[in-house]
Point group: C3
Chain length 339, copies 3
């Protein structure tokens, strides 16, 4: 249990009410119990303040007067909540040391934790305090920065580099071959993929996400990039700092995504195109051309009851004809009007 005034001393904000109130953790405003700290970051839920059971609430100045319990007032309640939540919930770090079933073919710091059945290849470099989970496979000469956490069953292929404080979730594959072939009549001849994947610091990579190594040069993931699950990043892609992508996104080869971008779930970015910094792509959108101007971009169709869809969307096959008919009507009408 922690006193509210301890939290404010550590994280800032204005304390309203009794600083001696004790809380054991954070919770949503709706579910918080009498010994928890709730938070209000979306004005849509402000009505819940009146009935909250929370001991106290993290909230913005505009909600201060509506709060019936103690409050920590801050300009960015969600960010404040994130920091307090991290402090209350340090991830349960596995014990330091190499599990006897692991195979480590390189020298690693004593502060590293290597789980059961993990393999670290010859020449690999693992930073201080890094966690290599059960069943991970780290190829020869790969490099993982200090303070990183690889959850169970992550693959990092030979020669690839991951920066400091990375979090990589289970099933992710960093450094598989890019998809490159030259045609030889009907068949395909493989282009060797001799580049690396180079991942910056403070990057999070989701479960079963794949990042291919470059063909001749590297695939590059900037500092602070956050990739959700099941994302496919093809060879020679560059992703700028602090860009975040939701699940199931696919990025084709040699695309360059700027810094501070967001990409919604299931979006596809075609190859060899470039997105400026600060571009926001909506979920399900196919980005088929470069985007030079920051802003939000969308290309999806509305869904509707299937019967309505049948009626409306079959028209798409005839849009061009519809446009022609409109033009013809305009001309005929102009002629009538000019009679």
């Amino acid at each position: 249990m922690v006193r509210l005034d301890e939290i404010v001393a550590r994280f800032g904000g204005d304390l309203v009410g009794n600083g001696g109130i004790l809380v054991r953790g954070v919770a949503t405003l709706e579910s918080a119990e009498a010994d928890q700290l709730g938070f209000l970051s979306n004005s849509k839920y402000q009505g819940q303040l009146a009935v909250t059971r929370a001991a106290a609430v993290i909230l913005g100045p505009e909600a201060r007067d509506a709060c019936p319990v103690a409050a920590i007032v801050t300009a960015q309640p969600y960010l404040y909540f994130a920091r307090v939540a991290q402090w209350f919930n340090p991830p349960p770090r596995p014990a330091v040391g190499v599990h006897p079933s692991a195979v480590v073919e390189t020298v690693i710091p004593a502060s590293v934790s290597v789980g059961p059945h993990a393999w670290i290849g010859a020449g690999a470099s693992i930073g201080e305090n890094t966690v290599v989970g059960a069943g991970c496979a780290i190829g020869e000469n790969a490099r993982i920065g200090a303070g990183s956490w690889l959850h169970p069953r992550v693959t990092v292929a030979a020669g690839c580099r991951i920066g400091e404080r990375a979090i990589v979730h289970s099933g992710a594959v960093i450094g598989s071959d890019g998809f490159g072939f030259a045609r030889d009549a009907a068949a395909w001849v493989k282009i060797p993929q001799t580049g690396r994947v180079v991942v910056g610091d403070d990057v999070e990579i989701g479960a079963n996400t794949t990042i291919d190594r470059g063909a001749l040069e590297d695939t590059v993931i900037g500092d602070g990039v956050k990739l959700d699950n099941q994302i496919q990043v093809a060879h020679n892609v560059h992703i700028g700092a602090n860009t975040a992508m939701a699940g199931c996104v696919g990025i084709a080869g040699s695309a360059k995504v700027g810094a501070g971008c967001t990409v919604g779930g299931g979006a596809i970015i075609l190859g060899h195109i470039e997105l400026a910094d600060g571009v926001h792509v909506s979920a399900g959108t196919l980005v088929s051309k470069s985007i030079a101007t920051p802003g939000s971009y969308t290309g999806t169709v509305p869904f509707m009851a299937h019967a309505d869809w049948l009626k409306n969307f079959s028209r798409l096959r005839h849009l061009d004809a519809m446009a022609d008919k409109i033009r013809a009507l305009e001309m005929r009408l102009a002629e009538l009007e000019n009679r």
Copy 2:
């Protein structure tokens, strides 16, 4: 080899013809050989009856008279086929016991099978007769119900729960962190993901499917849910009982999908929306709003020859202008008509 009348005694249905006929298994009507039991569940294939080599056929009452060989008549031939096929093809269960290369840090029943290089963390609970395949990683305090089958290389993260009789295919990841961050100027601050994944009974989870743990509360998968391969289920999603989803579906955070729903391959369901029970989403559809009424919903575009597509779909950029032109034409025409 099994007698037809044995099958009917066990599974019901009306036997037409010689109950002493012996069959060694089930097959499609088209490929069944003289010692196999065919089935006809789609009237489209009824023409194949005349030429089948099957010893006997499972079929509905409407096809009874058209069948030239013995038949088992039932109201639901496909369901009957499923049950008989299960009986003929019990999955080849690995030997009971813990492989010497596995690492088991908890007490498990003697009836469990643990494959090579599997890891089961401290405090985990594994039900009777469960199979934990080669290379699986079961985190601390996870719980797997009795009679479940985890194929090789499944990950179940710490604290997550899977019910009884689950089937989880290779590469699936249950309990990776949800994708939650608060903005701090240009950078992102991680929201600890402290909820669990709670999976009901009789659930099947496909290969390389990922289900994230909840942020503060749990991600919940109902009884009897069937998830195909490569599906992404984000944090705090709820999926109702017996809902089935085809491959490559993505469901964003906090979405609630009702019971008895079906979702077609590659569909995307956005976050914080709600689908009623009995909603059927077509393949490739982006569901961007809640759906309160059961029924089928679609939002996809027809494909066409590329040249036709170029001509038609460029018009989409000008739909609004087309609508304006139509309105202008209507007004001009009304004026002429009223002259």
Copy 3:
């Protein structure tokens, strides 16, 4: 370092300039250094010839006169580059033999390399010179052809077959159960998936790609097929020889894709349909009907600035009404014209 005339002696082409020039490898025209061999395969980059630092350039006859340095002239520069790059960059083959931590329950050739924590089940057959990477799981009675390379953490389920010279990337799952259920009132009854996956020779399968085993018959992947990452191939699909598919493609059950096809990233092919040989499907396209004629097919919508999209795409809900309005206008106008 290799002499240009050695390369030409081995791979053909016309040498222009000094055959004694030494190169240490291949690089893009833009990045090639003074001891590297560049290549020009796309006329768009011909301008880079004038400023290249490369020792020599692989190029087509049309660019011969524009090349300021030595050249190897060939009709297919990209194919030539692929072959030379393979020769310069033989993949770093792990040592032959079985790692002591691996579990091999069958007899394998002495030429095979089996990595740490790999498992090969009873009755499996592994061809000469095959590499089974760390943490792979090869089920009972599976068969892997000679000269194949399974990267770390690949799963091949019981009874499945992979041909010769396959490359399978990390996290791929070959032979998970197909997604087949019969309805039993609200619930689902599993159809046993008793077919296999049968993969031809010279196939490459990407990271975290999944290929389901057939329900009663087999799923079949032809010779020379190339599948990128995160692809889902459902049960009983057939893919013809030398077809190539980009990342995130989903193919539903029993679809038949011809030979020599290409499928762009994120495309979805529905079940039970058939694509002729030589069909090219654009990225993001949903193929909902069979295609009998070779050629390129597309069904995607243009993306645009979000505000423009809101204005234009809401019209899609009213396309049918727009068509009706046009028809009404045509009739009213015809009446006026005939007065």
